[in-house]
Each structure stands twice: as C-alpha cells, then as structure tokens.
C-alpha cells in the first residue's frame, strides 16, 4: 500500500516535472515569463504611486485600452512569426473606420456596412500577401506601399472630410463593439478574448500554425517539406487585415464617427506589443500569450504614466526604450545561444 502510494507520488512528481518542462519548452515561453514578471512589477509600482490604479473603474478602462492593441498585436505577431512585417495595419484601421462610418452615415444597415468594410480590408490583406509571397517584394516596401494606399482610401472615401455622427440607427453597432457589456466585461474586451482564443488555437494547435513557424524559421526547408509558403504568407496577412479591420470598427463605435487619421501609428503599437511579448522579428519564434503580456505592458505604461502625471513625450520615450531593449534581448538571445547543431 505504502509502496503504491510512494510510486503514485513519484509518478505525479514526474508528471508535474514533465508538464513544467513541456511548458518551458514552448517556443518563447521563457521570455513571456520574464515579461510577465515585469508586468507584475509595473502594476505594483503604479499601484504604490497612485492607489486608484487598482480601482475597478480604472481596471475596466485599462482593459478596454489594451484590447485594440492586443487585437492588432495578434495580427502583427502572425506576420512577424513568418519573418515578415505589416506596416499597413494602422492605415487599414483608418480605412476600416472611414468606410464603415461613411456607409452608416449614408443610411446603410450597420451589418451590411460591416460586411463591406471586412471585404475591403481583406482585399488589402490579400494584396499584401500577394506582393510579398508571389511578387517577392520586401515586406517592408510592399506594406509601406499598401499603407499609403489604405490611408489614401480612408481620406478619399468621404471626400477628405471626417464623417458626421453615425447616428442613433447604429446604436446596436456601437454597443456591440464598444459600449455594451457582457457578463460584466466590456464587449471590446470580449472581442479581443474571442479573437485571441481563435487565433491562438490556429497558431498552436493546427497544421497552418506549424507552417507559419516553419516559414519564419527556414523558408527553403519549408518548401522542401511541402509547405505552400505563398498561401501561408497570404493567410497571415489576411489575419492581420482582419484584426486591423476589427480595431477600425471598434474605433468607429468608440467615437461614433469616422476620422481619417484613425489608427495612426498603430502598426508601431502592434510591433511593440508583439516584440515586448517575445515574438521574434527574425521569424520563427513567439507565442500569442506573449502578445497579451506585450499589449498589457503597453497599456499599463500608458495608463500608469498618465496616472503618475508623466507627460506624453516621456511616455513615448519610455515605451520606445522598452521596445528597443526587447528586440535587443531577442537578437542577443538568438545569436548568443550556443547551438549544438551541425558544424559551422
């Protein structure tokens, strides 16, 4: 009996060890844990500076602030893991905001407006993917081009003016994307959670997810292993466009109108969220749990520094420094890590 118990304990101990080992073996988990620790420290520091930081109202607002950054961070993480980049995210947010708002101000049913907006954003996503995967354009240049195009569309769609209010007819739309609550949480947060669950599942549990990592790690070896690198690259840019589109719709719902400069610099926020969370700019590494932490750090810094009375310029400098340090950390870890692999 005692022996059985001991044996059972031993097995459980081994199982726990194995589970821990498995969690730590997940690519990028080490950095995620480090960054999560940093997030906790930040929260404690801001809580000490200003105890209202932990008030339920501020927590609700903080989460609502984090949600859009997390959503675009998910899209950018997908693209970064393939070793590419999407600079058009911010402009697609603006385009999505302007198209949906313009249609709604013209009396189009919000559901139809959302549908048309999604289609337009998907076209940009596919275009990005085609330019990078099939036309072999450097992703930086290709998405820089589509960034300008999408911003131009955002401006032209209402003749270079911000739109009027989308009106009471779009109340359901505004509640769905921003003002409404479900189970005590703002809907924006729920949207972010649902998108995260779906895209995290795809990335970590499906064949497509493995192909995404494979392309970022070694595109030539991926081709030899039968991975359709073009289709997978297009898929990640489509995911990025869907995420940007969603944030555009949230922006419309937030302000109740379309603004041409909506989503300005969001591509950089997306890169920041991904990179701080351990997604490698060199491709092949990173998990979406890290993007959650990265987006949270971004949100906590913005919110906490605001509470601490730091001017916007200081906030930007601090966030900028954190992004650079994160990338540096990634490069140092990647290049400095001794590999046991083949000679040379």
């Amino acid at each position: 009996m005692i022996m059985t118990k001991n044996k059972g304990e031993l097995t459980m101990g081994n199982d726990k060890q194995n589970a821990f080992k498995r969690i730590m073996a997940i690519r990028g988990m080490g950095q995620v844990i480090t960054v999560a620790f940093g997030l906790i420290v930040l929260c404690i520091v801001f809580g000490i500076i200003n105890p209202t930081f932990f008030s339920s109202k501020n927590i609700g607002n903080l989460l609502r602030q984090i949600a859009p950054i997390l959503i675009i961070g998910i899209g950018q993480s997908y693209v970064l893991i393939t070793g590419n980049i999407d600079l058009s995210i911010g402009s697609v947010v603006g385009m999505s905001c302007m198209i949906s708002a313009t249609l709604m101000t013209k009396g189009v049913n919000p559901l139809v407006a959302v549908f048309i907006t999604i289609i337009c954003c998907l076209i940009v996503g596919v275009l990005n993917g085609e330019l990078v995967a099939k036309c072999k354009l450097p992703p930086f240049i290709a998405t820089l081009g589509t960034m300008t195009i999408a911003r131009g569309i955002a401006q032209i769609v209402n003749n270079n003016y911000n739109t009027d209010s989308i009106g009471d007819g779009a109340k359901v739309f505004r509640n769905f994307f921003y003002y409404g609550k479900t189970m005590g949480l703002y809907n924006t947060i729920w949207i972010a959670i649902v998108l995260w669950i779906v895209f995290n599942f795809i990335l970590s549990k499906t064949r497509t997810g493995r192909h995404i990592y494979a392309i970022g790690s070694n595109i030539e070896a991926s081709k030899l292993s039968g991975v359709n690198t073009s289709v997978t690259t297009i898929k990640v840019y489509v995911v990025s466009a869907i995420c940007a589109c969603t944030v555009g719709l949230v922006t419309t719902a937030t302000s109740g109108m379309g603004t041409m400069d909506a989503g300005n610099s969001y591509e950089m926020y997306a890169v920041a969220a991904s990179v701080i969370g351990g997604v490698s700019t060199l491709g092949g590494q990173g998990i979406l749990l890290g993007t959650v932490i990265g987006a949270s750090i971004w949100g906590v810094l913005q919110n906490g520094l605001q509470f601490a009375g730091a001017p916007v310029a200081i906030r930007n400098i601090i966030i900028g420094i954190i992004v650079v340090v994160s990338v540096l950390l990634d490069v140092v870890v990647r290049t400095g890590k001794p590999r046991k692999s083949r000679v040379n």
């Binding site: 073996a25 690519r27 064949r207 494979a214 292993s225 092949g284 001794p338 046991k340 000679v343 040379n344």
Partner: protein
Amino acid sequence: MREEILRMENVTCKYDGITFLDHINLNIFKGEIMGLIPINSQGKSWLFNLLCQNYPIDYGRIYINNQLVNYYEHSAYNRNRVYIIEKKSKLIQDLSVSDNIFVLKRGFRKYIINRKVLNKQVNLFLEEMNVSIDPDELVMNLNSYEQCIVELLKAIISGSKLIVISDISNILSVVDLSKLLDLIKSYSEKGFTFLYVGNHHEEVFKICDRVALMKDGRIIRVLDEKELTEDNIKAYTISFEDAKPSAPKYDGQGILKFENVSTNHLKNMSFTIEKGECVVFFDTNNMIYSDLLQIMNGEMMPGQGEIIWNQKRFTSKLAKNALENGIAVIVENATVNMLFQNLSYVENLYFLIERKLKSVKNKSKVLKSIITEYENIVGQEIYETDISKLGLTSLYNLVYYRIHLYKPKVVFCLQPFSGADMYLRKHIADLIRELKRKGIAVIILAVSISDTLTIADRFLVIENGSIVKEFSKEKFSSLRSIV
C-alpha cells in the same frame, strides 16, 4: 529478380555549353546501399537535383520504382520520393522533432495536431532505432547526430523510395558516424534503399554493397562487392605527395602553448605548437572546436589552466585583437564564408594586409610588388574584377594566399577538406604546405581523418575533450587502424 528502385539510362544534362551529366547509367536495387564516389564534383549537384525533382534532361530516361518519371521528351517537374541527408539540414530548427517528422511531411492531412499521438508514434520509431530523443525537443537543441537521426526518421516515415546520404562524415564524429552507419545497415536489411555519397573510398567501401565512381559527370566504373579493394581504386586516385622541397623545420620555437586548459568541453588540454608545423586535432566526439576557436578570438576564457602565446600570457585583451597578434582562422566553406563577392581579386587579397600597410608611406609601390609576386604564383586570375567568375580552385587560392600574404604566426583551419573532391583536396593540401613553408603554424580541426595525414607533422586524437593519443609523422601508418 531483385526489385529496381532507381534506374538512370543514358541521362545527359547540358547547360551553358557544359555537360554536367554525361550519359549516366546507374541502377540501384531495393534494400541496397549503393556507394557513389565523385572523383571530381562535376555533376554531383545536378544528379541530386534530378533525383529529387524531374527537371528537363537532354537525353535519357529515369525510372523510380520501375516507373518512368522523367525522359528527354517530357519532364513533369514533379517531385520524387527521394530524401537527401547532407551537411545542410532540411529540418526546421524552431519546431519540435515530432512536428518536423509528421506535420511537415508531404501529405500530412490532419488539420488539428494531437501532440500526444504524434509523440507516441515518434517514440515507437526511436525505440526501434535504440535512440533516445525527446519528441517535444526543438530541433535547434539537438546535436548533429540527433539531427541526422531525425532526418533519417523523416525520410523513412515519409516513405522515401531512395535515401541519399551525402558527405555526412564532415559533420559527424567517428563515433556518431559509426552509429549512423549501423542504423543505415539495419534499415537496408528492412528493405530501405540508400545511395551513400562520400569523397573517401575507405569510408564508402566500409558500408556499401556496390560503389560507382563518377568523373566529369560520367559513371566511369561500378565496383561490385568483391571489387571493393584498394587496388581497384588506385587507378582513379592521385598522389597527395608534396612535389616541392619540404618546409624547413623550426624545432623548439613554440608559439602556442596550452597548459591544463579546461572549459565546458576541453578537459585539461595541454599541447605546444611549434613554428611552421602542421598539427591535426582529431576530435572523435566533435565537441572541442567551438571552445577552442572562442578562446582564440576572445569570446571565452578558460575556466582553468594557462595559455602562453609567443612567450607571453594569453589574455582576453590579446585575444580581442587576435588577427593583429598573429592568429588567423580559415573557416569551413571558406570560399563562401571568407571572400567578398563585390570586391575584386586584388582587393580581396589585400584585405588583411591593408591593416599592416597603414603606416607605410609609399603604399602603391608595395601593392605593385605584391601583385608582381603573387601573379607569378596564381597567374592572370589576380586581375579578375568579378570573383564570381572564378572556379573553386582559384577561390581557394585567394583564401589561402590572403593568409599567406598576411603571414600570421598560426592559422586554425576548420575542416579544410570538407566537401571537396579529390583534385581540390590535393590543391588545398598544397596550399597548406605553402603556409608551412612561410613558417606559419597550421592547426587543422577535423572530425574525419580525410587527407590530413598527407600534410600533418603531428596528429592528436581527442576524446571527450582530452588528448588521449599523439602520433608523430613516423607513426602515421599505425594510426588508421587505431582510430
């Protein structure tokens, strides 16, 4: 009648006026380990490409598993079930072992991945191979041997009709190579078919049932099992003996001395390198090279022991300026990794010596004399402005004469003969002798004996980070049997 896995009939491939494959006739039977020794490298990569994918050919037919897959009138560009394991890994370093074996397999249909099921299957195969690798481990954390095993497993599981193993002795230690060869043998007995490509007949003869000799893109002879003898290969090999007078001896002029040096992989390493001598470090476990090179370029300092360089203590400050202090390195695949494609031959040749010429006033006069001196050695190629037009022999000239011109006290050569055909190996051996003649000590870091014995003055056998045996030139004849 034995089942034929590969049959190539009169396969000819020409490109840009050069015949890369010239009426190749080759057949391989099921369960056979066929050897291939490329006497020169012409056509080898073309042959590999054609085995993997059905590219257009100028003449002939290719059958795989008794099916005509490619012939001169029609090439479908489709891929054949042939897997090539070579120096450059085809595995995705950031994915796990089971992902690499199953998920990145052509025809893997399942969309949602069940890690437990995949791991269980991988474990079954690994147990059969008697190899312990964690299926969840990322490939980047595996050593060369384990990566080869994963590739072999991937080839077997993906149902490859033919598994090509090429120049694997350049990346595996003798211990690991011997284990891999045992596995290959056991799988051939189970009906898997292999094409084993190697530059050294000693290595190829050991494992193969038949061996084909390839020269200038032609199969010049196929040796049957009974014909796999030194006498039969002699006619196709060249002598590596030095045609010039041997280099002067500088006994007693020790320039590099290790005294009980220990690091993660070096264990109480002690040796002395004399001026102008050539010493081979033969590591049977393929462990010490990165530590040794990192020490010499200042990236690592030994945890224990002392290094004396040129009668002085070797410090990290000295190591940071290793090249200025007379320590040079020639890495593996030097023609790719050490030359600048956008610089001309002369600019490449000057690249190192330019540091020394900084203080010289009449620089152009010095440069002119250098060109005159080396034109006598390398000929007109010295005036080449686009080095991509040069052949491998000329590029190796450039790599070694750059060091020759710079004249360091010691040069570390990492696997100098790796991947080179017989003629190129002979040429590299001659270039190393030229360095010795100039009084430069050469330290060769190798995982296979290859042709190192033809140029070495001493041969150190290293096991688990320690020197276990030392052979002087006179005792080389007894070395092969021991190693």
